[in-house]
């Protein structure tokens, strides 16, 4: 006979531990449900026109999102022009000079706070510094919003990968009489290069899906956006406008766009994690 108290303890043990398993199954279930549902609706909605045609006027069937795809690429390009250099330099500073000092702590903290600022607030910020002075929505404004959003993750991931370079490698360089900046530029950075690039890819994947900061910076456009000073369409904003519109055919295209965006973002995530995994192992 098991005494009552012991029995109760054992039952609690089994119940609570199973509940943790159930929550894990639940969360994984949500992930697979979203992936499956988007793929199911997206595949049946996707056609060649989606990649090659402009949106049709309201009420007409068909058309595609070619301009939004190009728009997203242009926005990401602009964003990397801002986010990558600043993030990379910040990362180099933190790992090479700011490991234990106050400046390093402050900058790390600021980067974490910047990362936590809601994306819609970033949109307002880009609006006040780019759209207001220029007087109209533009691709550049959207690029600025996304670029600033890239900075904190670029800083932190570059820092992490630079820190992984062993101290012995640095010492070897210094012992050979190389000056410090040469050790960093020609030994430390090349060693960490793959990791840094992967980190930036993850960063791009994250901002690629951002909608809120684009609503009133890059705005939207039903035609091709020429140059960098016109408003431009982008995949996330198109998904939003099409999803909340009352037209059946727009919903179909929203699913198609959703699938393309999701595959791009998750694809970039999976590929970069695999690269990192292999690098950390080897």
């Amino acid at each position: 006979m098991i005494p009552g108290l012991l029995l109760r303890r054992r039952v609690t043990n089994v119940v609570m531990l199973s509940l943790t398993g159930v929550s894990t199954a639940l969360v994984l279930g949500v992930l697979f449900f979203i992936l499956g549902y988007i793929t199911y609706h997206g595949i049946s909605a996707l056609d060649w026109d989606f990649f090659t045609k402009l949106p049709k006027p309201v009420g007409e069937k068909g058309g595609g999102m070619a301009n939004a795809i190009v728009g997203t690429i242009k926005l990401l390009f602009l964003a990397s022009l801002i986010g990558v250099p600043i993030g990379f330099m910040g990362g180099v500073y933190l790992s090479e000079y700011g490991r234990k000092n106050t400046a390093g702590f402050l900058i790390r903290y600021a980067a974490d706070l910047l990362n936590g600022i809601p994306s819609i607030v970033m949109g307002i910020f880009a609006y006040t510094i780019v759209v207001l002075p220029m007087g109209h929505f533009s691709t550049v404004a959207g690029g600025v919003a996304l670029g600033i959003m890239m900075i904190p993750i670029a800083v932190r991931s570059s820092e992490e990968f630079l820190k992984l370079v062993p101290a012995t490698v640095r010492e070897a360089g210094l012992a050979l009489g190389l000056s410090e900046w040469k050790v960093v530029c020609f030994i430390v950075i090349p060693t960490a290069f793959r990791g840094i690039v992967t980190g930036i890819m993850l960063d791009l994947a994250r901002v690629a899906g951002e909608t809120a900061p684009l609503l009133f910076t890059a705005f939207s456009n039903r035609f091709w956006s020429r140059g960098w000073l016109e408003p431009t369409a982008s995949l996330p904003v198109m998904i939003y406008t099409y999803a909340i519109a009352p037209y059946e055919d727009w919903h179909r295209q929203a699913w198609a766009a959703g699938m393309v965006l999701l595959m791009l973002v998750l694809g970039a995530n999976v590929v970069s994690r695999l690269i990192l995994h292999r690098q950390l192992k080897g």
Partner: protein
Amino acid sequence: MAKSGTNFFIKDMIGRPGVSSADRFFRATVLTGALSVLVITCVIAFELVRNSVLPIKKFGWSFLWGTTWDPIAEVFGGLPFLYGTLVSSILALLIAVPVGLGVAIFLSELAPRRASDPIAFLVELLAAVPSVIYGLVGIFVFVPWVRNFIEPALSGTLGFLPLFRGAPYGVGMLTAGLVLAMMVVPFIVSVSREILMAVPRSQREAILSLGATRWEMVRVAVLPYARSGIMGSIFLALARALGETMAVTMVIGNRPEIRLSLFEPGYTMAAVIANEFTEATGDLYLQALIEIGLVLFAVTILVNALARLMIHSVFTKVEVRE
């Protein structure tokens, strides 16, 4: 040891007067990049304040507790949005915290390492899904689902509470809370899991040797040790939920009213900015929206700052003890 040794070495080199100008130039260059992180954060705060002076002057603090949002009469009170943001986020945490902690405990205490890492990766993928995708699935799947199943079930069983009364619209606080919960769970899981794994083995072994069951070990030895870190992860998730825009805008119903029932449509700070910013006519209206952004900024910065300090404290504690 070797790491800090080199660090002193490098510091020493810079400190000496003989350091080459090329080294100094390089250091200054990367410092510029690093400092711009600080500068940008400050400029964002400054710009938000500068561009919301009109409503700040006109309404003062009453902006925060005014309940009327009437762009035509130019009366702006932000309380309905504050309320909606707070309620939907708390609702999300009520669902996400137990589930997220469950997953973190499962991954750190039960699952073998070979299963734990891939599952943690999958959970993190959930955080990578763009918020507009959650909104898309939210509109077409969760809204009808909540309207047809969840809300009737809740009003049938818990209908005596004012929280669960009213017509089942589908769009509203409840759906927003559900969608937000899915979006913030990965933040709770990934941070808490790391913190739980940082709890020293000796803690676990000590309580197991006293005859505790696995669950008692978690409850008595592991969770209390990791408490401030777990609180940190919850605050981190809260900050995400407060600032989340697209998914919430698409499912919350967007009505600036304060209603007790969770079935009723609401509105959040982020959602009102997203919806009305491009349509705002007149400077006062636009600046009132920017002031909403300022409030949101202040709240999330505060919550994030707390979260980071809490998480930081756990890892320093672990470093010191081992």
